[in-house]
């Protein structure tokens, strides 16, 4: 272990300074009001002065890649497919915005979500590179990203804009896909940890114990690569988990410590990290105790763990509520922590049709304009003519504007792409807006159903996103971030999977029976014969 870190330090010192690399890590712990504890790790590697590959020059050999801290496996994928910006998240569970507030990392969509901005090129089309990227990443992260094919891919540029700068070399295009049924587990965490310079041996990543992380009420990881002009390529690996100490502790107490949450401790800091810190967001109430004691900065306690700092690594950080015998859940009604609360449901009792309804509540005393994005796989057909917007039991079509609908279109491989609905909603203060649209459920071929067909299909969540500031002037006190709704389960009608031969035989028999009788009549000559008795 020690030898490894020495080698890493040596490698770091001896790297030819083609590009300066900088690695920072950070953990934010926040006790939540429902007794849970949210933890958010972020590991940021910056490649100074590096520019994403120009896709128009994909035929020419690429410059050689020398990385000391940046993961080579990911770097190769980014260069091979000339990716300017990449976001991959793998999450499990439903983020409870009302009680937990906005997450530190906004991408909390259930399942897998992948979106990439790529420069257009005539050498290799964006779609070819998108397909290559999916397969490469699915190999790298052991996730079924390969199934994010044309049945899942769209290009919602308004909701998912470039977060960094736009390189000047080409027109950029977005490809976005999500797979809500992806299960996130240990096999995804192991390759994730391999991308870190200190792996899980030192620094904050030493806390990442899969047994604990995947036992959390909500957990997810993310890979974000963006390019900022003047800075370079920034790789941000994030891991968030929401623990429930009241569930796991014997006395139903919400006391937590890093040791109790992760069952591990930080033995030493990562030697190559330029900064490494743990910050604890302190609750508003005062009856808690935090150890080790430290001066508070803006409502949070920050512990510096970097090797360069003089302070010793605190073996454990813990928070107690000494006066509390057991944790009492706050009594409802609770004011939601986010200005918008969203509920999305699929009604209907039959397997052939239903009503998709979304209700958005504005909890703030100000009108909010929100972008609304719905990406529906062709499993459901939306009847857009039945779209209704209602608030306080009256139809208010004026509250939905800039409606853009892209129906499913047939791709060259015969699959239907998802349909996409994008609109701007204006939600009056302290009121609820209800959107409903009728849907039809598809009848699929028997080969298109998954092996567990009776379980149903997961429908990706809708996205609500704040509009760019130029479009509206909402004061910063009601600032909010992107909101993902939970996934829905669609109960599709299934054919019988056991009898393709029987159906072929029975249908063909009936057809030949009718054909035979009919042509038998047509080809016979009619004569009158005497029947002898």
């Amino acid at each position: 272990m020690l030898r490894a870190s020495v080698w890493i330090s040596l490698a770091y010192l001896l790297t030819p300074s083609l590009s300066l690399e900088n690695y920072k890590e950070d953990l934010r712990v926040q006790p939540l009001r429902d007794g849970r504890v949210s933890t958010a790790f972020s590991f940021v590697t910056v490649l100074d002065g590096v520019v994403p590959r120009n896709p128009t020059a994909l035929e020419q050999p690429d410059e050689s890649q020398h990385y000391a801290l940046f993961p080579l496996t990911l770097g190769q994928i980014l260069r091979e497919y000339a990716i300017t910006e990449l976001h991959l998240t793998l999450n499990a569970g439903k983020w409870n915005y009302d009680d937990w507030g906005h997450p530190l990392e906004a991408s909390v969509r259930t399942g897998a979500e992948l979106w990439a901005w790529m420069g257009a090129s005539e050498v290799t089309t964006v779609d070819e590179r998108w397909s290559g990227l999916r397969n490469a990443l699915s190999g790298l992260f052991c996730a079924s990203l390969g199934s994010l094919d044309s049945r899942r891919t769209t290009s919602p540029v308004v909701a998912f804009p470039l977060s960094g700068s736009t390189p000047p070399f080409a027109q950029h295009e977005l490809r976005h896909a999500s797979l809500p049924s992806e299960n996130v587990c240990t096999e995804n965490l192991t390759p994730f940890l391999k991308l870190l310079p200190c792996k899980s041996r030192a620094g904050l990543a030493a806390l990442l114990n899969p047994q604990k992380v995947f036992d959390a009420d909500w957990h997810g990881m993310g890979v974000h690569v963006i390019w900022k002009e003047g800075t370079g390529v920034e790789l941000k690996l994030t891991l968030q988990a929401v623990f429930n100490p009241a569930r796991s502790s014997a006395g139903k107490r919400r006391d937590w410590s890093l040791q109790s949450l992760f069952d591990r401790s930080i033995e030493r800091s990562c030697p190559v990290a330029s900064s490494s810190s743990v910050s604890v967001v302190l609750p508003e109430e005062v009856n808690y105790q935090i150890t080790p004691q430290i001066a508070h900065v803006e409502g949070s306690a920050i512990y510096d763990l970097s090797s360069s700092s003089n302070s010793t690594i605190p073996s454990n950080i813990a928070m107690h509520w000494p006066s509390e015998h057991s944790f009492q859940y706050p009594m409802p009604p609770l004011q939601p922590l986010t200005p918008l609360s969203v509920k999305r449901t699929l009604h209907g009792t039959t397997q052939t049709r239903g009503v998709l309804s979304v209700s958005i509540t504005n909890n703030s005393p100000q009108e909010i304009s929100a972008g609304y994005l719905e990406i529906i796989p062709a499993l459901l057909t939306l009847w857009m003519h039945t779209l209704e917007v209602e608030t306080n039991s009256e139809i208010r079509s004026d509250l939905l504007s800039d409606l853009k609908y892209q129906p499913p279109s047939r791709q060259p491989n015969g699959h239907l792409s998802p349909s996409m609905v994008q609109a701007v909603l204006t939600i009056p203060p302290k009121s609820t807006l209800k959107i409903s649209v009728e849907v039809n459920k598809a009848f699929l071929k028997y080969t298109e159903h998954p092996p567990d067909a009776m379980r149903g299909w997961e429908l990706p969540g809708a996205v609500f996103f704040p509009l760019p500031q130029s479009a509206n002037n909402i004061s910063s006190s009601y600032d909010w971030e992107m909101i993902y709704t939970p996934t829905l389960l669609v109960d599709l009608p299934t054919p019988d999977f056991s009898m393709p031969y029987n159906v072929i035989i029975l249908s063909c028999t009936l057809m030949t029976l009718i054909f035979g009788s009919f042509f038998n009549l047509l080809t016979r000559k009619w004569v009158v014969v005497e029947i002898k008795e």
Partner: protein
């Protein structure tokens, strides 16, 4: 009731149904027995919505209607229920005129016989036709256009008939099956020749020139559709292509949907070809065998469509069943009318029941409905064979000869399985 008032009374009844707010109409609009993806009112509305919102309706996978319907309902008239009632009335009126032309009666007679009341009732009150019409399925228009075509052809109005068949084919491409008998009908007479078969006596050259005229109308309509669909050909793939490639596997009473749901992917194109060619195979044999009575040939081909076409709805066999009333001369010679009737009753009860058990109640599975659709196929096939049998059997007439000598009545029967050797 006076027989002359049957048509007006029934038409009033139908109009009343259109304007009254009937319960359950929403369920009818979603029903798979009476709406197919090609005829569903919901999809028509969706197409109109997309047109209003500057989305190409034919880009998505959900709209399959003809651009002609789209343009009519987006510019001239909104799709209101009264149009379907009027279309039903036109269909009944056309059926009546076909009857009069076949019987050689005056077209504008003041008096009406019982048979005529029966024909009108058989069309307007036929549940297989009434329910699709109440559900605002566009199959009502296809049926009315088919009957108008036959009416014009029977009355010897070539241009009108050819224009009507061009419209019908534009709405539903399978109606191409009816083109040959209609051309034959235009050069001969609609009068019943079933009892006295004779070789075709019309002029072949005239048929060729009529076919040319049809092609002209048809191309004009295709051109108009292309202009309506913003100069693109994509509507052809979305609307006509859907009948050939079956992109939507929504259940219906026909034989295609479950077969292609369960089909192995690599055999799909082959069987799609087989099922499509199977329909075309019937045209020539039927037209040759019934060359003496092309109206009857058209009737049989409508029966073939009502059994075997893709995206079948009850309106297709419904048209065939209503048209049986045009041919009273064959009723006595039907081979097994009771069996056919019972099969139809059986299918009409089983289809909605099994459909509900499968998709709503969740107590049955797809095989339940498939079994019901096989019964429907049997019923359609039995009706077709029955009609074909009767149409040929009538030529032999009733043969009952009293034999001499022994004073006994020797029974003479028609031999069924005597093979023609020539």
């Amino acid at each position: 009731m006076d027989e002359g008032t049957v048509l007006p009374v029934l038409v009033c009844f139908r109009l009343l149904l259109a304007v009254l707010p009937l319960p359950g109409q929403h369920i009818l609009k979603h029903d798979h027995q009476i709406n197919s993806p090609l005829t569903s009112y919901l999809r028509l509305k969706e197409g109109l919505w997309m047109l209003d919102n500057n989305v190409d309706p034919y880009m998505g996978g959900s709209f399959h209607h003809s651009p002609l319907l789209l343009s009519v309902f987006s510019t001239i008239l909104p799709p209101i229920p009264i149009i379907w009632a009027v279309s039903d009335a036109v269909g009944a009126w056309a059926l009546l005129r076909i009857w009069r032309a076949r019987q050689g009666l005056s077209l504008h007679r003041a008096t009406t016989s019982t048979a005529e009341s029966l024909i009108v009732s058989a069309y307007i009150l036929n549940p297989y036709l009434l329910f699709p019409s109440l559900a605002l399925s566009t199959s009502t228009f296809e049926n009315s256009f088919t009957l108008l075509t036959l009416m014009f052809a029977s009355e010897g109005k070539p241009s009108s008939a050819l224009l009507a068949i061009a419209f019908t084919i534009n709405l539903s491409p399978y109606s191409i099956l009816l083109l040959l008998p209609i051309l034959m009908l235009l050069v001969t007479s609609p009068a019943s020749q079933l009892a006295s078969p004779r070789p075709f006596h019309g002029s072949i050259n005239r048929i060729a020139s009529l076919f040319g005229e049809f092609m002209l109308y048809w191309l004009v309509l295709v051109g108009a559709a292309c202009i309506i669909a913003d100069g693109s050909w994509s509507w052809m793939k979305a609307s006509w292509g859907a009948s050939l490639t079956l992109p939507d596997l929504t259940p219906n009473p026909g034989l295609w949907w479950y077969f292609f749901t369960e089909m192995f992917d690599h055999f799909r194109p082959f069987f799609l070809m087989v099922f499509s060619v199977h329909l075309v195979i019937y045209i020539l044999p039927v037209c040759i065998k019934f060359q003496h009575d092309p109206l009857y040939a058209a009737f049989l081909l409508i029966g073939v469509l009502g059994t075997f076409k893709a995206y079948l709805t009850l309106a297709d066999p419904g048209l065939f069943l209503s048209m049986i009333s045009l041919f009273p001369e064959v009723h006595g010679y039907l081979r097994h009318p009771i069996v056919t009737t019972l099969l139809h009753l059986h299918a009409a009860l089983l289809l909605p029941l099994q459909h509900i058990l499968w998709v709503s109640e969740g107590r049955g599975n797809a095989n339940f409905y498939y079994a019901a659709s096989l019964v429907m196929g049997m019923a359609g096939g039995a009706g077709l064979v029955d009609a074909c049998w009767a149409g040929m059997r009538i030529a032999l007439g009733d043969v009952k000869v009293e034999s001499e000598g022994k004073g006994q009545v020797a029974r003479w029967e028609v031999a069924r399985w005597e093979v023609a050797q020539e």
